[in-house]
Subunit: 386 residues, 2 copies
C-alpha cells in the first residue's frame, strides 16, 4: 500500500475538561512531554513543531503559539509553526507536520493542538467560536454554531426523515464511551429521554446534542518510517492524509445535508490507500453536534446518505459493531478544546491501533480521523494503520 | 547550486495603507487575482493555498482565513491553510507553501498574506500586536512593542555606541525608497533632524523610528521548477528557506543586541545555497523599528556586529550601494500589515530580480527576505535568485 512514509511513534494528552489552575502553556507542555516520553525521542532529536490552535488571541490574549510551544518546551531554535483552520486546526497541524517530513526537511516532528477556553465568559467563547463561520454574512447577523448546525439538522430531517431520537442516540453512545476514557470531560450514563428532555439550544438541537467548551491539549510525535523503527516497536503508520475546503457560509452551498469538504478529503484518502469505507474498523469523527456525527458517518461512506441516524439508533456505530465510532467519547463527551481535537483523534486511534486503549479497546486494523472546521469550510481526514 | 526546486511565477499586492472602504476579503482577493493574472495560471491549476495572517480574530472577528481565501477566490475545494507566527506569518506562509511543493503533494500553490488593522481603535491594535510577545511575562505588565524594541536599542547603543542619528538614517533611507514605490504607505522626504524631532514613543525610539499600522495584502504563485517553465519566462527561484525560533520574552535571552532566530535561519540558508552574505545584492529586512534594521543587517552578516548603524549612516544600504536594503520602503515606510509583510518582501524581490522594479530598480542577482515575528521569537529567511 502507498503510504505517506510517516508514522506516529508517541502520543500524549491532558485530561480534557475545566482546568482552572492550568494555563494554555501548562496544558501544552503536559501533553508534549507525555508524547515525548511515550516516544522515547530526546528533545534535541526533534526537528520541528506544528501546533494547532484556533483563537488563543481572543481567548487568552496570546498569538505566536508555535514559538511559545518551542519556548516552553526548551526546543528553541527549531522551526515552530502555528496552523489554524478553526476546529480543524489540530488535524491541520498533523497534516502539515506530515508534509514537512515528506518534503525531506524533517525526520522527527511534534504535532500538537491546544485550546484554553474557560478563561473567558461563555458568551465571549461563543462569539469567538463564531469566528469559524462567515463573520460578515452569518455571525454578524446573530448566527451561532448551534443555530448553523440546527439548519443542517432540520434539512437532514426533512430530506431523510432523521429523528431527534436518532440524534440523541449519538449522545448516549458517546457519553457512554467517555466513561471508559480517563481523559474525557463528561462520563454520563444517559438515556435517549435524558437528551430529549434537556433544554433547547437551537431547535432541534438540545443541550445534550452539543459538544461542550473545554480546556485541553494533545500531542503526537511523528517520524519518517525508517527513523520510526529506531524508537518504536509499534509505530502507527499515517497511510494517507487529505484536506479540503468549502464555502464559509452555509447559504453558499448547494446542499446542507452533506459536507462537501469531508467528501473530497475522504475520497482522496480512500484513493491514496486503495481502502474503502468498509475496510475502516474505527473512526474518530467530528461530532461537534450529534447531527454532525450522523452527517459524517454518511459522508465518509460508512453508511448510505440518509441512513446514518437509523444506523446509530440500531447500534451499528457502537464499539465492536459494524464500525466503532468515537470510542474516545468524541467531541461530544470527551470534550472539544477546538485546536486540540484533531490531534486527540490521532492519539485515540494510536492507542486503539496499538492495543493500548484499556477498557474501551476495540478490534481494529485501520482507523480514520475526521476533523472539521466551522460548519464544514475545512475538513481534514487521515487514515492510520498498524 | 542546491535549491528548493520551487520558483515564484507570479506576484501581486494591494497598495499598503488605510483602506477604509475595503475589508480583509477584498484586499486578499485583489492581491490574489493580481498574482494569478501575473502568473498566467488558471484557477483550476492551483493545488493549495497558504495564507499568513496574525490576528484577524481580534482585528475583524474572523478566523478560518485559509478557507475564507479559498471561498472568496472561488478555489474550493482545494486545501487552504492559515499559518501564524505573529509578524512573520507571511514569511511562514511562503515557507510552508514551498515545503508542500517539496513534499510532492502540490505542483502550484498560492501563498498570500493579509492584515486589516485599521478597523479597530489604535489602542486595541496595539494590544493585539502585544499578542506576539509573551503575554504572561511582558505585555500583561504593560510592555508594548515600541518599549521592547527600545530595550534592544538601548542595549545596542550601550554595547556598540550606536546613535539615535544612525537609527534615524534608516527611516530617512526607507521613506525615500517608498517614494519610488506606488504601493507604499508613506512616501516622505525626511531629514535625520525630522526623525530626531518627532515625538518620543519609547525612548530612544521616536514616532518616525516606528513602522505604522497598515491594511494590505500580498500574494505569490509558486510552482515546481519544471512546471514553472510552462507558465513563465522569468521564474524567480526560491534557492533556500529556513525558519527558527527563540524565547518569546526578551528577558529570557542571553543577548539583547542580536536575534538568535535570525542568525540560525540565516546560517541555514547560506549553508544550503553555498552563498555568503557578500553574494546578496538586495535584501528586504524586518525593520519594524529603525533599530531592527540595524540589528538585522548585522545578524544577516552584511555588516559586522555593531557596525550596522555606521554602515547605514555612511549610505552603504542605499540602493545600488554595498547592499540595497528595503528598496520597497520596508515595514517602516511601505507599511506593515503584519501578515502580509513577509509575502510583500518576496513580491518586491521578485520584481527587482526580474528587472520590473521601475524607478527603484537596482542591479541584482541574489535577494534575501528576512521576516521576524514579535521581538525575534520567530525568524524566516529566504534567498531568491534568477
Amino acid at each position: 500500500m502507498k503510504t505517506t512514509g510517516v508514522s506516529i511513534i508517541g502520543v500524549g494528552m491532558t485530561k480534557f475538561g475545566e482546568h482552572w489552575s492550568k494555563g494554555l502553556r501548562d496544558l501544552m507542555a503536559e501533553a508534549g512531554v507525555k508524547a515525548i516520553l511515550d516516544s522515547g525521542v530526546d528533545g534535541p532529536d526533534i526537528d520541528a513543531i506544528y501546533g494547532g490552535s484556533m483563537s488563543p488571541g481572543r481567548l487568552i490574549g496570546q498569538e505566536h503559539i508555535g514559538a511559545l510551544i518551542a519556548d516552553q518546551s526548551g526546543l528553541n531554535p527549531i522551526p515552530a509553526t502555528r496552523v489554524e483552520a478553526a476546529c480543524a486546526s489540530g488535524g491541520l497541524a498533523l497534516r502539515e507536520a506530515t508534509l514537512s517530513i515528506m518534503s525531506g526537511q524533517n525526520d522527527i516532528v511534534i504535532a500538537g493542538g491546544v485550546e484554553k477556553m474557560m478563561d473567558v465568559q461563555t458568551p465571549q467563547a461563543i462569539t469567538t467560536l463564531g469566528g469559524a463561520a462567515d463573520m460578515e454574512w452569518e455571525t454578524s447577523f446573530g448566527a451561532t454554531f448551534p443555530s448553523l448546525y440546527a439548519l443542517i439538522a432540520r434539512r437532514h430531517m426533512y430530506e431523510f426523515g432523521t429523528t431527534e431520537e436518532q440524534m440523541a442516540a449519538v449522545a448516549v453512545k458517546n457519553h457512554r464511551n467517555a466513561c471508559l476514557n480517563e481523559f474525557s470531560q463528561y462520563c454520563m450514563n444517559l438515556t435517549v429521554e435524558d437528551v430529549m428532555n434537556s433544554g433547547v439550544v437551537a431547535e432541534p438541537l438540545k443541550l445534550l446534542d452539543c459538544s461542550p467548551l473545554t480546556d485541553g491539549a494533545a500531542a503526537v510525535i511523528l517520524a519518517k518510517d525508517d527513523v520510526a523503527k529506531k524508537y518504536c516497536d509499534t509505530p502507527i503508520k499515517i497511510l494517507a492524509g487529505a484536506q479540503a475546503s468549502d464555502t464559509l457560509a452555509l447559504h453558499d452551498r448547494e446542499d446542507l445535508s452533506r459536507l462537501r469538504a469531508t467528501t473530497h478529503a475522504a475520497n482522496a484518502v480512500y484513493k491514496d490507500t486503495g481502502l474503502s469505507p468498509s475496510d475502516i474498523d474505527i473512526a474518530e469523527v467530528h461530532d461537534c453536534f450529534t447531527i454532525a456525527e450522523i452527517v459524517a458517518i454518511e459522508d465518509l461512506g460508512f453508511f448510505k446518505k440518509g441512513e446514518g441516524g437509523k444506523a446509530t439508533e440500531d447500534g451499528l456505530t457502537q464499539r465492536n459493531s459494524q464500525i466503532s465510532v468515537n470510542t474516545s467519547g468524541g467531541l461530544k463527551a470527551c470534550g472539544h478544546p477546538v485546536g486540540a481535537t484533531g490531534i486527540k483523534q490521532a492519539v485515540e486511534l494510536t492507542w486503539q491501533l496499538r492495543g493500548d486503549a484499556g477498557k474501551r479497546q476495540v478490534k481494529c486494523q485501520y482507523g480514520l480521523a475526521h476533523n472539521v472546521g466551522g460548519s464544514g469550510a475545512t475538513a481534514v481526514v487521515h487514515i492510520l494503520g498498524r
